[in-house]
Structures are given as C-alpha cells and as structure tokens.
C-alpha cells in the first residue's frame, strides 16, 4: 500500500468537491487520484495489492444518514447507495416482493462482508481476474492499457464468455447487479451539476478497446440511489459455484416473470458469472413473452441467451452450465409459490 490522504466527507457536496478536486486530470475513474471509501471491501483490498494507488481517500460513510434508506413503494423500490447489503437482504418487503434482489444479496460474499459492504460499492466491485489483481503481470489492458491480456490464453476458468473483446475477458463478479439490470432499475448519480438518473443497464461498459473504462461514472460522481420500478414477487436468483458459500458465481441467473393465467406477460433474464458486465439477455427473454411455459421453451431461451457466447481454454463449460442455470431458474420462477 502507498501513502494516501484521508478525508471524511460530512455531506454530498463536500464529497463531490473532494473527489472532483483531485480528479480533474485523472481519467478514467478507476485511476482517479481520489477514490470514495464506503465499506472498503474492494478498494482497500486492491490498494494492498498495489492495483489501485489513489493519492486521496474520501470517506463517504457519513453520508449514510441520507443515502441508506430502504423505501419500498407500490410504484417503485428505492434503495440508498450506502444501504448495507445485509440490511437490504433481510428486509421483509424486499424478500416478499423482490426475491431476486434479496437472494442475489444473500448469496453474495460472506456475512461479515455483507455487513460492511454497501449497495453502490457492491455494484462497483471490480473484477476478480487473477492477472488483473497481480501487478507482477505487466500485461493487463485494464491496468496498463495497450499492454495485452495475460488471461486470454492463461488460466481463465473464471473468465467471461459473453461481452468479451480481444482486449479483455475479465468477468464482472457481483450478484446484486444482475437483479438490478433484470428489473430495469435506474441508478441515481450525484455530481457537481446535481443529480441525474440513467438506466442501470447503461452504467457498466463492456471492455471493447478500453477495458480500463468500466462504467459511465465520471470522476467526482457518486451513486446515491437505485430505484426499481414495479414489484416482482415471482423472481429468482440462482447461483452455481464451487463451494456452498462465500464464493463467486461460475454462472448465475436473475429471472423475473409476470405470469397470468399460465401465460407469461413479461419476463426478465439477466446473467452473472459469465459476462464482462451485468448481462441482460433481452433476445432470450423476448421468446418468453406471451407464451405458456414448458421445458422446450426454456431450452430455446437458454440457447438464445448464450447464442453469442465464446469460450476459451478453461471456461468453455460455462456455456452449457449457463444454459442449464437459466433453464432451472425459469422453472423455479414459474413454479414458485407467491406469498401474498
């Protein structure tokens, strides 16, 4: 770890000012000289590894009073950026009306981490690519643009099969973001110019030729809230992984359905553990709309979801696995009992 200055922001203005002051010259966000500190479960880790080397840390935990509310409503669910993962996961109304959100949080990390980590920090969590996290490898386009990618032909069992480029195959590691992207969530962003909103699905950027730019967030901007329109009691988060807890997904699916009289009126499918960003399988879910569910349909949906997938030496299994996870998640969503 390298020396850094530490500053505690007492309100959003102060946080934005502090983050903007040092940030102006240092784009992209991942290399900005000032970084916000919330739960710290990713940032401190990456600083110890010398992957992130911010000169200044702006502690935004004091903003929690205004930014951590959990507000279920009949029109939309609003979640403060600094709400703790554990608090949201255990919230009775979220468990009832948004099981996909509650379960994506419950199945993430460990109890200790969920108690520390915030929602916004979680969606901004950076990839677990071993080569990205090991600075003794020069060739990482995410860390050193233009240097190449060690993972492409290295040990890439955990890497992505969707949304990759010839520059980067690093997997987006989180779970909660899949639920947000599936449910058409909006993300509220606070910056110098005030507050703006955009679809959460537009927050993360696929690597393309600029794997170092991971999100649309600009230096000096903070996520302040998420909002999820509607209610999705018929929703599932299914996660396949090497061990039973405290492990990243090899493949996961966030599925939400609106079924009336046996007909699927609306359907959402998002994929985790297999893509470079929180991945919405829109073409696949389109197949579901207006249909009656059966296993053949589930298979066609799963095939569509992975139609463009590209496996590498060690991760090709994720395509077949991902399809089975989608199918099973759809089956579970169709047959689940809805608590009224």
């Amino acid at each position: 770890m390298r020396p850094f200055s530490y500053q505690r922001a007492s309100d959003p203005d102060m946080a934005v000012r502090a983050l903007s002051a040092a940030a102006a010259a240092s784009n992209p966000l991942t290399k900005a000289a000032a970084q916000p500190l919330a739960g710290g479960t990713t940032l401190i880790d990456l600083m110890k590894l010398d992957v992130m080397r911010p000169a200044a840390i702006v502690d935004i935990n004091s903003l929690a009073q205004g930014w951590s509310a959990i507000e279920p409503g009949s029109e939309a669910l609003r979640l403060g950026a600094l709400a703790k993962m554990s608090d949201v996961a255990a919230h009775a109304e979220i468990e009832r009306n948004y099981p996909v959100i509650a379960n994506s949080l419950k199945l993430a990390a460990s109890a200790q981490l969920r108690n520390m980590a915030t929602l916004a920090g979680n969606v901004m969590q950076r990839t677990r690519c071993s080569y990205f996290r090991d600075v003794s490898y020069e060739n990482c386009n995410k860390r050193n643009p233009g240097s190449g990618c060690a993972a492409m032909d290295g040990v890439n069992r955990m890497h992505a099969v969707l949304g990759t480029s010839d520059q980067c195959v690093a997997t987006y590691p989180g779970d909660f973001a899949q639920a947000l992207v599936a449910l058409d969530a909006m993300v509220e962003i606070t910056g110098k110019a005030g507050t703006r909103s955009m679809p959460f699905a537009q927050l993360h950027k696929t690597p393309g030729n600029t794997p170092d730019i991971e999100t649309m967030l600009q230096p000096g901007e903070l996520i302040s809230a998420f909002s999820v329109p509607g209610q999705w009691p018929r929703s599932v988060y299914l996660k396949a992984r090497d061990r039973q807890s405290y492990e990243f997904a090899l493949s996961s699916a966030a599925v939400a359905l609106d079924v009336q009289g046996g007909t699927i009126r609306d359907a959402r499918v998002a994929l985790g553990g297999v893509a470079t960003v929180p991945w919405r399988a829109r073409e696949a879910e389109a197949l579901l709309k207006g249909q009656k569910f059966d296993d053949g349909l589930a298979q066609r949906v799963a095939d569509a979801a992975f139609a463009d997938a590209k496996g590498r030496q060690h991760n090709g299994f994720k395509i077949a696995l991902g399809k089975r996870v989608v199918m099973r998640a759809l089956q579970q969503a169709v047959t689940m009992e809805i608590r009224s």
């Binding site: 770890m1 390298r2 020396p3 010398d50 460990s110 677990r128 071993s130 080569y131 090991d134 600075v135 003794s136 490898y137 032909d153 290295g154 040990v155 069992r157 299914l238 396949a240 992984r241 090497d242 061990r243 039973q244 807890s245 405290y246 492990e247 090899l250 493949s251 299994f317 077949a320 696995l321 089975r324 996870v325 199918m327 099973r328």
Partner: protein
Amino acid sequence: MTAAAPEPKANMGQPVPRYDAASKVTGRATYASDMPLDNPAHAFLVTSAIAKGRVDSFDLDDARAVRGVIDIVTHENAPKLKESKLFSNGGYAGTTIQPLKSADIAHDGQIIAVVIAESYEAAREAANRVKVSYTAVAPSASFGSPGTTTAAAKGQNAQFKEDPQVGDFARAFDEAEVKLTASYDTPPQHHNPMELFTTSCAWMGDNLVIYEGSQYVYGLKNGVAEQLGIDADKVRVVNPYVGGGFGSRGSMTPRTAIIAGIAKRLNRPIKLVPTRDQGFTITTHRAETRHEIRLGASRDGKLVALRHEGAEVSSRPDAYCVGGTKTTTRLYACPNVASLVSIVRADRNTPGFMRSPPEVPYLFALESAMDELAVKLNMDPVELRRINDTTVEPIGGKPYTSRSLMACFDEAAKAFGWSQRSPQPKSMSDGDWLIGYGCAATCYPTQMAPSAARVRLQRDGRTRVEIAGHEIGTGAYTVIAQTAAERLGVPLDKVAVFLGDSELPPAPVAGGSNSTASTCSAVMMVCDQIRQRLFKAVMPSDSLTDKAKETVGLSQAPSTQAAKSDRPLDIEKAFDALGAGVVEEYGEWKPEGAPLDSFKAMHSGHARIVGGHAMKDKIAYAFGAEFVEVRINRFTHEIRCPRLVGAFAAGRIMNPRTARSQLMGGLIWGMSSALLEATEIDQRNARYVNDNLADYLVPVNADVAGVEVILLSEQDDHINPAGAKGLGELANVGTNAAICNAIYHATGQRIRKLPVRLENIEA
C-alpha cells in the same frame, strides 16, 4: 460427555479440555510474530515475477526514496551464507535453491530482494517501488511441459530406498480372471496455515534468538547455525504456539538465515511478515502426482496381482518425493506386487511435506482402483476389502502389530447406514440432487523418534514438564500434561508444560504423526525416574523397579490405599528422606530399532524416525474407514458432501477430545482435497495463479454439514511405551477416493483426476 468430548472407551484417556484453550480463545497465546522485540526494523520481500532466468538489474531509486527505508538487500549485497543440504541428504533444508546467492532465478516467486524499513508500511511501499529487469527463459511448468526430465526415484533420493515388489506381477496379471488398469492424477496443493510464514531475528552479542513458527525447533536452530557458520548453541528458536503446520514448517526455508544475516549486519532486530501469496513460493507445497494402477483378481475377489506406478514433480536441483508405494503395496494381501516411483524435474520450487505426504495421493489411486475393481466384480466394496484383509504385509511377510481395518469398516458402515445404499449407479436421488455413497480405507504408519524430556516435581505436587516439542494445534500441551499427571499421580491442574523452545530438551520434528508417541514415551520414562528416586529415598532396600511401577500417586489420600498390599508412597516423607524440596529428572528415550547415533542426531536436529513398514520384524500402521455421501445437482452439477463418517483405530487414544478434533479436521481436509483444493499453474510461465485464500478454495462452514468421528478401542503393546499410534494424518487419507467412489455411485461417471469440479460431471 458431549460430541466434542466423547466418552472414553477401553484404552483411552480422559477427554480433558485443551491445556491452551483459554489462552487461544482469549488471544493471550503468543505466536512468533507476537513476540515483543526491542526497536525492530521491518522486512518485506520482493519476489520474482518469472520462474526461470536471471535478474539483469534493479532500479532501486524510487524504493530508496521512501521515507523510513533502511536498506535494500539483493544478491549484490546479501549476507554470505553457507549452503545447507536437503534434509533427506543429512541437512536441514527443504530446498537447496538459495535465493540472493546470485542473479539466477529457479522458480516463480523466488526471493530476489529484501527491503528493510522503520515500519512495515514503508517496507511494503518500497518493495512495491522496486523495479526489476529480467532475462526470462521459457520454464518447464509441470508434467508434459517441454524440458522436463524424468528418472526413477530410487538412486536419486536417499530416503527412497526401494520400489517394493514380490512374486511375479507380470505373469499373475496376465493370467488374472479380472483385470483393471487405470490412471489417476492429483494436483499441487498448498498448506495455507492460518499463521503466515513470519520470522523475527534478534541478536544479543553473538547469540541469536529466532521467533518463527516451526515444526522442528532443533532442526531450525542447527540449520540456521550451519548457514551462518556459527555454533548451534548460540542459536535459540522460540515458538510456544504454531498457527498450523501441516508440514509446511517441518524443514528450514531460506528466509530464516537471510533475515538472521541481515539482522546481524544492521545490528537490529528484524521482523519479517510475508504476505499470503508470498507464502505460496517461499515455502513448500504438495507436488502434483500421476499414477497408474493395475489390479488382477480372481472372480471371487482375491487380489492376485497389484502394480502401482507413481510419478511426482520436483524442482530442478532437489529430488524430493513422497513415494507412497511403500504403503499401497502393503495394504492388502496380494502375492504378486510390483511398483515404480519416478521424479519429474521442472522449474518449480522444491515441494515438501504436506499432511500425509505419501498417503493422500497414493491411496487416492489405490482406493479408487479398489472401488473400480469392486464394480467389475459386482461386489460390495466393503466386502472386497474384507476378502483382501491381512494380518501380514505381503512384501516382507511381517505381521502388523495390530490392525483394525475391518472393524473400522463395520463400525463406520453401521453409523453411516451403508446398508441403505442401492448399489446401482444413478439409483438414488432427492429432488434436484443425485445422491451417491462411497467408501475407502485409510491408513497411516505408526512412527516414533528419539525424544528427551525434563520433569520437575515439587513436594506440593506442582509439576513442570519441559520438552522442545511443538504445539501446532494438535493438543501437544494437553496430552503431555495428561501423561505427566497420570504417571506421577498429581492433579492435572498442577502440571505446567513448556514447549516450543530449543533451549528445552530436544524433541523430534512434529511430522509423520510421531509427536505424541515420542514425547509422551519420553515423559513417561522421566516421570518413572522421579518415582524411583522418591521410592528409593523411603525404601532403599526394596526392588526399585517393581515398586516404582506400583507407586501410588500424590493425589490419592493414604487412607483409601490402606487395604492395598503396597503401601502408598508418603510423598512428604519421601521428600524429607531425600532432603530436597524439588526432584528434577532429565532423560532421553529412544524407540525400539532406533539407530545407534540416535541421541547424537537428536541434539543436532536430525530426527531418526522409525516405525511403519521399516521396522525389523513387524509393521505398524493405524487404520480407518471412511464413508461419504455426495450430492450432485442435476442442473448445475454442483457437488456437495453433506456427510462424512469415519471410524478409526490408533492404539491408545490419549485424549478422545483432541483426537476427535484432529480426525474431524482430517475428514474435512480430505473432502477439500477431493473437491476444492488445487494450486493452479499457468503452463506458459510456471507461475501459481490462485495464490490467495479467495481463489485457493478451502471449505467454509456451509460446505461441512455433518462430520462424525468414531474412535475404536485398540490396544497395541508392540509399538511404544505410550501405546499410541499417530493419528494426526490418518483421517485426511482416502477421503478423496471415497468421494470419487460416491460420485461414481451418484452419476455412473468415474473421475480419476482431482479436484473434481462441476464441469467434470457430464450431463
């Protein structure tokens, strides 16, 4: 009694709580890096980013500019150290690759510089700022990599003396009614003990104190002295507690003498705390292995031919191997046996001991093959073991001192509910989960080594036991205290035990599961010396040896003994007669069959371990049987193991609580070894990829739903005075095979390569 403290059966001690339990749970127990140092400087390692080649140059300007940096040590200015031989060649070292000796790099993560600074943070920051230019050469990573060399182990490793064989394997196999040929692979693994590989060194004049978690303080003391070229009596190694060993701290690693040398030069105590990932390359690991097993049997299941060929990866200079054929060729009755062990050299750091070094990989192969044979024979795998059970090992015809293998199978099978198994593969399920049952045998050699002890008894019963043994989490303090209390007849709470200090009487390496048998036998002998002195003081005319054996302990009130023919020793009278307030005895014990130079070697840090298959006219092993239930998700193919049941027999169980705890940990590790643990190697550059506890998977609580340990009563009077067989490395053997056997039962798929992951399960 509770699950954690099982009711003692015949020939078992009391399940007393751990001697050090309160210290550990309250954080009072001091580990090596907790030891206070006077004004220490802090060291941080810089390790190589290539596996083969050389350092061309360092750019140290940025690093030196960090405030608080005192010195940066590279091969250009490192303290000169003498070479140390590999432990298997009569030395102390786990590797002969000596970093900082030249610019050459022999493996990934080799130490190439040490930054010394006023604080840990400054040292770490400066280390991050060291820039290195390398000339890299394409390395050989592992099996199948270009540039590896392969040769028979026999002749290159002094400790691998023979490839066991008997009869005529080729002919018997050729003529066998039922045959099996199968190959098996096991991956590299790392110990990852909780305590990092720290080292602190402080000089007082010419005397050096080393605080380092070690499984062999006498070995480390002598080894470091040799490398520094100083008298071993000037070196002291202290570690009252070790935060897990598992073999990783059994032999000396290069870091210790390097830190000692730098501390001497700077005339200041130095504390090194390496990172978790550095621990993957600055110590040892379990090497990857490959096996081919051939079994021939008659239709009724009798083995007629067995061949086990094993290959293991080692480093370029060191012929380390575990050679588990010494056990797999002797486990079952079979008249025609052949074997061969080879060593494959690659550009890797030298592997070393890891919990049950030979048995974990080699019994995986044999116990998987036995299950495959049972399938071919359409026979219950338990019955196949029963048919081939033996009281005599087949290679030399020597009798087992005791062997409760089938009793273990029967007890464990009953507790597990083996009879509920429907033998057909893919025949059991529960909702989304396919269910499989599997079993395997485990065994581990009973080993002993010379050990000394000093015991002091005061007239009020207070007792002090001193021995340079090791508390690596196994319960050494506890069983040594129990042994002394029982032998002297003093209350347990009056016994104080001192371990983990090379100033104390020498004990062997805490390896090969020899510690309990060795140290407790020595303590028993020295306690007897004390009793004899006391007895002699009051009854000088009596036959001392006989009377001493009958001596009544101090805790027993004389009145309760009045009816007995032998009067109790009146301890007050004895001390008065002796004219002393304290009796202290020192003694050196050696097991039957130990070589002539045993005691000399013991003092110079060489443990002359005897036992197992190498005894003159007998063979001594502990045995067990393990049953597992696996569940495989039909959709995700996730593999879980909700039930592990093991029954074990290991001679006298000194303390059922600590024994159960070790065996339970072993079963969990065995499961981990089958399903989770593997060090991934990037084949292009021979570097470890998942060198941290987030990516090197070990089980979490949710993976361990049910573990049941059954301790069988067993008496063995042919092994050592304590009557104990080592069991620390018994339970993690065979579990890997049991799990693969259960996976076969669940899916019909035979998997012969570890670890088994969801992508290995076919649709």
